[in-house]
């Protein structure tokens, strides 16, 4: 894409998105808002995987932590004072579990939306990168973690409402979530968060930090023997990915009015990665665009031919991996000199061995 077309396209897209509430149907607006909320998680995958070379198949874990943090508060806010949330009553729980108690406080819950996923991601990353775990093992570990989290959620009916998930929200910090203009305002709010996340991540990747992430991805040992501590950089990137996933999960929960284990599981986590791969994992706009268009297509196709959807998605992923390793964004940039050369796993770990 040339230097003139790209900014024009960006401005037009941004304008169209800002004005969407004035021309989209109610259904269309909710769908778009929901998809834009999801695309914030895609930014995180772009940083962690595209730039950092760390393929996490468990972003649903951090997405879920953000979503559940908010949902717990919303549930408590919708429950009359002195009573327990309905699902606890059905399950014979007699007192509010300890980890629910602080979520009565709205600002605390909002802080947790950001803090909990970030800390969890940093902790997971610290355990993995301190031991110099790389490549496919990262994918397996992160996938196992999200599976464990979902299994726990499902099994703890009385604490988390199990497979049903948490639903039936009324107010957030005094704002009526069933009000007239809520869909429109929530949409704009999502768009703002997405814009802020995009801009700040773009800035971050332009700093020396961004350069080092790429350097570590390409040759971790060379960077280490120049005196850097690669694990620290990878932990920071992974924590940022967790933060963005958590924000995405909270906004998504607001849009949908519910969160359940089925929404954050292994399939969801892999789907996120597929859309980022399709759009282009090395390009922020590519990753966001891939996710948004993919999800919109999913909505259309899966309602028309529900059975075909999973096969179609799987085929798309295989095609992208084989033919378009840099996604659609890579295809658009192909005219630039020196297309990136892909490394095999073996090469990455052996670059500096004699």
């Amino acid at each position: 894409m040339n230097r003139v077309a790209q900014p024009i396209l960006l401005v037009v897209t941004a304008g169209a998105l800002l004005l969407a509430p004035f021309y989209l149907s109610a259904y269309g607006l909710t769908l778009l808002g929901r998809v834009l909320a999801l695309s914030i998680a895609a930014i995180g995958i772009c940083v962690v995987w595209g730039r950092g070379g760390i393929l996490s198949l468990g972003q649903g874990l951090f997405f879920g932590l953000g979503g559940y943090s908010l949902a717990m508060h919303l549930k408590l806010a919708a429950t009359p004072k002195g009573e327990l949330p309905d699902f606890m009553v059905y399950n014979g729980v007699e007192a509010l579990p300890w980890f629910w108690v602080p979520f009565v406080n709205g600002p605390f819950a909002l802080a947790m939306v950001v803090i909990l996923p970030t800390l969890a991601a940093a902790a997971v990353a610290w355990l993995m990168f301190r031991r110099r775990i790389t490549g496919v093992y990262i994918s397996i570990i992160t996938q196992a973690l999200v599976l464990a989290f979902v299994t726990w959620l499902n099994g703890s009916q009385g604490l988390t409402s199990g497979t049903n998930g948490i639903t039936d929200f009324h107010t957030l910090l005094g704002i009526d979530l069933r009000g007239e203009h809520i869909a429109r305002n929530l949409y704009w709010c999502t768009l703002m968060v997405l814009g802020a996340a995009l801009l700040s991540t773009a800035w971050l990747l332009r700093t020396h930090f961004g350069t080092l992430l790429t350097a570590i991805r390409d040759n971790e040992n060379r960077v280490r023997f120049l005196g850097y501590h690669p694990a620290a950089y990878k932990i920071a990137a992974f924590a940022l990915g967790g933060l963005l996933s958590g924000l995405s999960g909270a906004l998504y929960t607001l849009h949908l009015g519910t969160i359940s284990p089925a929404m954050i599981g292994v399939t969801f986590s892999i789907e996120l990665v597929i859309w980022v791969a399709l759009g282009g994992r090395n390009s922020l706009l590519g990753a966001v665009g891939g996710l948004v268009l993919g999800q919109l297509a999913k909505d259309k196709i899966s309602s028309a031919v529900p059975d075909a959807w999973l096969y179609l998605m799987g085929t798309l992923f295989v095609v992208v991996v084989l033919v378009l390793p840099q996604g659609v964004a890579g295809l658009l940039e192909r005219r630039k000199p020196a297309a990136p050369r892909r490394k095999t796993l073996g090469e990455v770990s052996d670059v500096v061995s004699p």
Partner: protein
């Protein structure tokens, strides 16, 4: 830096074992500050393993490595590097996805922490220094190209540039001239000689003509031990040393050196 000879690096009785195979056997070596030292030896003599041990990539089963009198044998790799020990690897270890300029910038940064990487901008002095280095390694015209688009010899130069950019006290160069033309080899020798004095340099190479150009004391390694030391002329007249080399006809590096001598 003091003018009288002082030991900068001391390898004391180091033994490295790979599944029972002793790559280094009770090897001792001391390198005075500001000196230039060449390590030669046939394939498998333990040259690269010795450098791996110094930078912490390989941990010995016994022995000690002391730097400025301090034992660094248990230190994490990045801390050893931050002491001012920088290694050029045998296979060029450049950062493929970055431009040539960015490669040098990563090496030249004095602060290595995550926070500094977010907040520090590139100063004028640093930009100036990188421009000088680009000139030195003859890559000014390719400064904004990706490193993986460079030819093999250029990658070698780039990595030498990175090692110099990090301004280490001790440079460890593992076959810096592999894949270079005779002219480039001569230029590399000149560069390395200009570095010694202010820096301490330890060079591994097979190329005898290159070693000759370096005009420095040579240590011969054989089967994980120091075989002998001396200047190149005296080693050439040493029958035992010649046997170690000539006894291994597949020693390509040596033949390459002979080939260059004719050009």
């Amino acid at each position: 830096m003091s003018s009288h000879p002082e030991v900068l690096l001391e390898v004391q009785g180091v033994t490295v074992s790979f599944d029972g195979f002793k790559a280094l056997q009770n090897l001792s070596l001391s390198v005075p500050r500001g000196s230039l030292r060449v390590l030669i030896g046939p394939n498998g003599a333990g040259k690269s393993t010795l450098l791996d041990t110094i930078i912490g990539k390989v941990r010995p089963v016994s022995g000690d490595v002391r730097y400025r009198g301090q034992s660094i044998i248990t230190w994490p790799e990045h801390r050893i590097a931050n002491l001012g020990i920088c290694r050029k690897f045998q296979a060029p270890g450049v950062l493929d996805g970055l431009s040539v300029r960015e490669n040098l910038r990563v090496a030249a940064k004095r602060t290595k922490g995550v926070w500094a990487s977010l907040t520090r901008t590139t100063g004028r002095a640093e930009t100036q220094r990188i421009a000088e280095l680009l000139e030195l390694i003859n890559l000014t015209g390719k400064a904004d190209q990706r490193a993986d688009s460079l030819a093999h010899g250029e990658k070698q130069w780039l990595e030498i540039g990175m090692v110099v950019a990090s301004d280490p006290e001790l440079l460890l160069l593992d076959e810096p001239t592999a894949g270079m033309t005779a002219q480039e080899t001569a230029k590399t020798a000149e560069l390395i000689r200009s570095l010694s004095g202010r820096h301490t340099v330890l060079v591994i190479d097979h190329d005898m003509q290159f070693v000759e150009l370096l005009d420095a004391p040579v240590t011969v390694l054989h089967q994980g031990q120091v075989f002998c030391e001396g200047d190149l002329a005296s080693l050439r007249s040493n029958a035992d040393v010649m046997e170690i080399y000539l006894g291994r006809p597949k020693d390509e590096g040596h033949h390459k050196g002979v080939g260059y001598a004719q050009t």
